[in-house]
C-alpha cells in the first residue's frame, strides 16, 4: 500500500472520523461545563468561613472529594463509575452521560483548586467593601469575588480544559452508544479502523493526533481572545 493509497483510505473514512471527533468534543464540552460548576461550588465551600457546622461538614466532604479524585487515575475512575453508580446511565440507549459525568467529576476537583487559588488572590478589601454595603457573603462572592477570581485564573482554567480534551481519549475503554448504536471517540475510531486496515494504522493515529492538536490550538486562540477581552476593564 503506497502512502497515497493510505491517504485515499483516510479520505474515504473522513465522515466517520469527523463524527468521532464531534463525539469527543461533545464529551469534553459536557465535562468542562459540569467540572466548572462543581469546581466553583467546591471552591466556595472550601473558602467559606467555617462558622456553622453545616459548612464544616461540607468542607470535609469537599476536601475528601478533591483528595480522592486527584489521587486516582482518570481511567480507573471512569471504569469504576461505568460499572457502579452510573450503571443505569450505561444501559441507556444513549450513554454519553457516563463519560460526561465521569470526566466532569474528575475535572471538578482540579477546577476547585484552581478557582480557590483565584479567590484567595482577590484582595480581601473587595469582600469587606461588599459586606460593608450590606451585601451578604454569598452575593459578594457571586457579584464581586468570583468574577475577579475567574479572570485571573483564565490561563490555568484553559490549561485544565486542554488536558481534559485530550484525557477524553481514555473513553475508548468503554462502549459508547448513541440511539443503541455503538459509536467511537476519535482515538477509538483510529484504533478500530487501524484493526480493520492494519497497513493504515499509523496514518490513522497520526491523523487523530493532528485533530487533537488542531482542537487544542483553537482552544489556545480562544483563551487569548478571552484574556484580551477581560483585560479591557483594566484600561
Amino acid at each position: 500500500m503506497t502512502f497515497a493509497d493510505k491517504l485515499a483510505k483516510l479520505w474515504e473514512l473522513r465522515g466517520l472520523f469527523a463524527e468521532s471527533l464531534g463525539l469527543s468534543l461533545l464529551i469534553a464540552f459536557g465535562a468542562v461545563v459540569l467540572g466548572f460548576i462543581i469546581g466553583v461550588i467546591l471552591a466556595v465551600i472550601r473558602i467559606a468561613p467555617k462558622t456553622n457546622p453545616v459548612i464544616k461538614v461540607l468542607d470535609k466532604i469537599a476536601v475528601t472529594y478533591i483528595t480522592v479524585i486527584r489521587g486516582t487515575p482518570t481511567l480507573v475512575q471512569l471504569l469504576i463509575l461505568y460499572n457502579s453508580i452510573l450503571i443505569s446511565f450505561k444501559r441507556m440507549p444513549t450513554n454519553l452521560l457516563v463519560p460526561i459525568i465521569a470526566f466532569g467529576i474528575n475535572s471538578g476537583a482540579y477546577m476547585a483548586e484552581i478557582i480557590r487559588s483565584g479567590i484567595s488572590a482577590v484582595d480581601s478589601g473587595q469582600l469587606e467593601a461588599g459586606r460593608s454595603l450590606g451585601l451578604s457573603w454569598i452575593t459578594t462572592m457571586k457579584k464581586i469575588i468570583i468574577p475577579q477570581a475567574i479572570k485571573t485564573t483564565v490561563p490555568t482554567i484553559f490549561n485544565e480544559i486542554i488536558i481534559l480534551v485530550k484525557e477524553t481519549s481514555v473513553v475508548s475503554y468503554i462502549v459508547l452508544k448513541v440511539n443503541s448504536e455503538q459509536k467511537w471517540d476519535l482515538l477509538g475510531m483510529a484504533e478500530k479502523q487501524g484493526l480493520a486496515t492494519p497497513a493504515c494504522y499509523l496514518v490513522f493515529l497520526f491523523f487523530a493526533a493532528i485533530l487533537y492538536l488542531a482542537v487544542v490550538m483553537l482552544l489556545t486562540a480562544l483563551q487569548h481572545l478571552i484574556e484580551k477581552r477581560l483585560k479591557k476593564n483594566e484600561r
Binding site: 478589601g125 469587606e128 460593608s132 476593564n233
Partner: protein, 303 residues
C-alpha cells in the same frame, strides 16, 4: 438602648493573644461628627470596624438605632448575671454583697453559658430576640470608607454605585442610576461613570468610594483612614468632600491622622491609646488641654 445612633458597650477584641481593644464604650448621637485619633496599634481602626461588625468583638455589645448587632454579653446585664447559677451559688455560700459578687463574676469571667440554668438561658434568648438585628440590614444603613478605597475592580464606577442598592432591592435600577449620576455630578466625575476603577487616580477612587456609600442613603458614615493611602496632592479633594458631607448633617466617625480636619469638623475627638479611649472631648479640650500624658505625647509629635 439610650438615644444614641451607635452605642458600643464594653468592647474587647483579641486577635489570638493580642489584646487590641480592652473595654471600649462610647455612644454617638445622630448628626455628631467624631474624629478618632491615636498612634497606630492603639485600636482605633479595630473599634471602627467593630461598629459595623467587619470585626466581631470578643466581648461587648454593639448597638445601632436601638438594635443589638452582636450576641448578648451577659456581663453587661445585671439581671442576667443575677439569674445565673454561679451568682446564686455565690450568694448561697454566704457572700452577702450582691454588687461585690457581680463585680467578681465580671472580673473573673465566671459565667459558662451551658451551666447557668434555664432562667439564665431564657433571659439571654429573650433579650437577644427582642433586640437583635441582622448585620446585613444594619450595614446597609451604615456607610464605610476604607483606606485602600476597595472599589470593585470588575465593575464600572456606575455599577460600583448601583450594585448594592439594586441587589438589596432598596431602589430600582433606574432610581439607583439616577441617584448615582446625581452624586457623581456633585463631585464632578459624571464623565467617569463608565470607567473601570483601575483608570482612576487615588483621589477620584476615594471620592467615588464615598459616594458609593452615599448611594445607600446611610444613617452614618464610618471612615477608616480615608486619606492615608493618597498622594499628598489628592488629600485635599477627599477632605473637602468629607467636609461638605459634614456640613450637610451626616453623622460621621472618622479615624484619621488629619489634625486640621479634626479641629475644623469634629464635635468630639476621641483619643485612643492601648486599646482604650484615653481621652474624649471637644477638639479644643483635647488639643489645647489634654489630660493624659499619652495624649500630650501624641499631640506634641503630630502638631
Amino acid at each position: 438602648m439610650s438615644g444614641d445612633l451607635i452605642e458600643i458597650r464594653g468592647l474587647y477584641k483579641y486577635f489570638g493573644k493580642l489584646e487590641v481593644l480592652k473595654g471600649v464604650s462610647c455612644g454617638i448621637k445622630k448628626g455628631e461628627k467624631i474624629v478618632v485619633l491615636g498612634a497606630s496599634g492603639s485600636g482605633k481602626s479595630t473599634m471602627l470596624r467593630c461598629m459595623n461588625l467587619l470585626e466581631k468583638p470578643t466581648y461587648g455589645e454593639v448597638w445601632f438605632e436601638g438594635n443589638l448587632l452582636t450576641p448578648v454579653d451577659p456581663y453587661l446585664h445585671e439581671d442576667i448575671i443575677k439569674s445565673s447559677r454561679t451568682f446564686k451559688k455565690l450568694i448561697s455560700q454566704g457572700n452577702a454583697d450582691e454588687g461585690d459578687m457581680i463585680a467578681k463574676i465580671k472580673k473573673d469571667d465566671l459565667l459558662h453559658e451551658k451551666n447557668e440554668g434555664a432562667e439564665y438561658s431564657r433571659l439571654m434568648k429573650e433579650f437577644y430576640k427582642a433586640h437583635f438585628l441582622d448585620e446585613n440590614l444594619a450595614r446597609a444603613r451604615m456607610g464605610m470608607v476604607f483606606q485602600h478605597f476597595n472599589l470593585f475592580n470588575n465593575l464600572t464606577v456606575l455599577q460600583n454605585m448601583t450594585l448594592a442598592p439594586v441587589q438589596l432591592k432598596l431602589k430600582t435600577k433606574e432610581e439607583a442610576t439616577a441617584h448615582a449620576m446625581e452624586l457623581l455630578g456633585k463631585i464632578g466625575l459624571t464623565d467617569k461613570a463608565d470607567c473601570y476603577p483601575s483608570t482612576l487616580s487615588g483621589g477620584q477612587k476615594q471620592r467615588i468610594a464615598i459616594v458609593r456609600s452615599l448611594c445607600m442613603d446611610p444613617q452614618v458614615m464610618l471612615f477608616d483612614e480615608p486619606t492615608s493611602a493618597l498622594d499628598p496632592e489628592m488629600v485635599g479633594e477627599v477632605l473637602d468632600l468629607m467636609k461638605r458631607l459634614a456640613d450637610a448633617g451626616m453623622t460621621m466617625i472618622v479615624v484619621t491622622h488629619e489634625i486640621g480636619f479634626a479641629r475644623e469638623v469634629a464635635d468630639r475627638v476621641l483619643f485612643m491609646a492601648d486599646g482604650v479611649i484615653a481621652e474624649s472631648g471637644t477638639p479644643d479640650e483635647v488639643f489645647n488641654n489634654p489630660q493624659t500624658e499619652r495624649a500630650k505625647q501624641f499631640l506634641s509629635s503630630v502638631l
